[in-house]
């Protein structure tokens, strides 16, 4: 399923993550998942939230640089090999590149959830149709 991810630019120094999450918390936005990739002196914070549009507005109003990106949320059975067989192999065979990915916990027992950012969203959706839930 396509979902909107919010990404924000952060300098790599103490308190920046706190600052961003605190802004969201004060706006009563719930964080579903997050992931940070970092270079030497900066990082990019990827977030899945319950209200992406509001989150963008809150972060922008606070003067942060952010953007929204469409990513794929994939849900597979929580068992060995599921992600490999249902997601990674089909995408690789279709020559779809995964730019980054992170996993997070699912509310439902027996399910595993991940976010994948791909270079060709439509093709990835076609390939994964029927293989994953959602």
């Amino acid at each position: 399923m396509r979902i909107t991810q919010v990404s924000a630019f952060m300098e790599n120094r103490p308190g920046r993550m706190l600052h961003v999450f605190n802004l969201l918390s004060e706006a009563n936005i719930n964080l579903v998942a997050h992931n940070i990739v970092d270079a030497a002196d900066f990082g990019i914070l990827h977030m899945l939230v319950d209200q992406p549009a509001l989150a963008m507005q809150v972060l922008r109003d606070a003067g942060l640089t952010c953007r929204s990106t469409l990513v794929l949320e994939v849900t597979v059975p929580d068992e060995a090999g599921a992600f490999v067989h249902r997601v990674l192999r089909p995408l690789a065979e279709a020559n779809v590149n995964i730019e980054y990915s992170y996993a997070y916990s699912s509310q439902c027992e027996g399910e595993a959830r991940s976010v994948i950012k791909v270079d060709d969203l439509e093709r990835a959706e076609q390939v994964l149709k029927g293989l994953i839930d959602g």
Partner: protein, 361 residues
């Protein structure tokens, strides 16, 4: 002057990224060698000396300027050029160098590296140093003299006038004797352009009297100083100028290279495709080379959710700055408004080097 009479060109970094080219006839080179020889003689250099020249050789006027002057005096020249610091320290010892010619920040860097190698430069034969091509303070002079065990003399010049050799200190270290028989100095009010009386601070202006290939008339250096006409204790009667105390424009000099903020701005605009919000920081840690940092705010126009894209932007900006300005800089991506918040208003340059004896920030 027919172009065929030009025997040499040099260049300094210009304001637009294209170098400012200067030309010399054989006579110009002769005059230049002569004023450089005077510079060295004012520091008691003779044919018995060994001159270790660590100014860059090439288009930069520093290396070849000092080189020709030292040969004119008859000293033995070690034409090191810049870089290779370990080897420089080895050769200073092996050749028993008595004279050191380099930028003041490189002199301190040499002392630092020598220390790491277990070498005390005070125990070498070094006796006198000719330091210029960048602004430096009296405090830095004391540090150089302490750590290298030599007398540190200030030399001044700019490519457009001739290169180094325009003025220099003698062993009394009380102002730089201007070679006014070749380069006529005036100090003017930078706003009105009117000449100022001796002793008053203003912009230094030169008119060349003997140059052939590139004569200049009232060339504005952008450097702030004062002129003094009382004779010096050394007996020279040439007019003296104070150590340069500032700039009339926003040019900064880093490791001997002239840098204008407009050049950096042009590079950033080209690399990221949008108007950059940036600040340039120059710092000089004791015993280290001047460090140039460019802080660029990441706006939504350049932000990407992919780390590689941003890292690539950072790398390309660093490469372009190095290639365009011929000086290395570290590009740091920062959050929006970070610059204004922590640095005060839209100031383009934060110079923390205290190079004119007044803290910039």
């Amino acid at each position: 002057m027919p172009a065929d009479d030009v025997v040499r060109v040099h260049a300094s970094s210009g304001t637009t990224g294209k170098p400012t080219v200067v030309a010399y006839t054989a006579h110009d080179i002769d005059v230049w060698s002569e004023v450089m020889a005077r510079t060295l003689v004012a520091g008691d250099v003779t044919r018995r000396d060994v001159a270790h020249i660590a100014y860059g050789y090439g288009l930069f006027t520093g290396g070849l300027g000092l080189h020709y002057g030292a040969e004119r005096v008859g000293a033995m020249v070690v034409p090191m050029s810049g870089g290779n610091t370990h080897q420089q320290i080895m050769l200073i010892q092996d050749f028993n160098a008595t004279v050191l010619c380099c930028t003041p920040s490189y002199a301190l860097y040499l002392a630092e590296v020598a220390g790491e190698m277990g070498v005390d430069l005070r125990e070498t034969q070094l006796r006198v140093g000719f330091f210029g091509a960048e602004p430096w303070t009296e405090q830095m002079r004391r540090e150089i003299q302490d750590r290298l065990g030599l007398q540190a003399l200030d030399i001044y010049g700019l490519s457009e006038v001739v290169g180094p050799g325009v003025s220099s200190e003698c062993v009394y270290q009380c102002g730089l004797h201007v070679a006014e028989d070749h380069f006529l100095p005036e100090v003017i009010d930078p706003q009105s352009g009117e000449p100022l009386p001796d002793g008053q601070a203003g912009e230094l202006v030169f008119t060349s009297l003997t140059k052939e290939a590139l004569p200049v008339i009232r060339y504005r250096t952008g450097d702030v100083t004062r002129l003094h006409r009382e004779p010096c204790a050394c007996g020279r009667t040439l007019v003296r100028m104070d150590k340069v105390s500032g700039r009339t424009d926003d040019m900064i000099i880093v490791r001997g290279v002239n840098v204008f903020p407009s050049q950096i701005e042009a590079v950033l605009l080209q690399v990221q495709g949008v108007e950059p919000h940036y600040v340039i920081l120059v710092d000089r840690e004791s015993g280290a080379m001047d460090a140039l940092e460019v802080w660029v705010e990441v706006s939504e126009g350049v932000f990407s959710d992919k780390l590689g894209t941003l890292a690539d932007l950072q790398r390309r900006a660093e490469t372009e700055i190095r290639e365009t300005l011929r000086v290395g800089a570290r590009v740091k991506l920062v959050e929006p408004h970070r610059i204004e918040r922590s640095m005060g208003k839209a100031k383009r340059v934060i110079d923390r080097r205290d190079v004119y004896g007044v803290k910039g920030e």
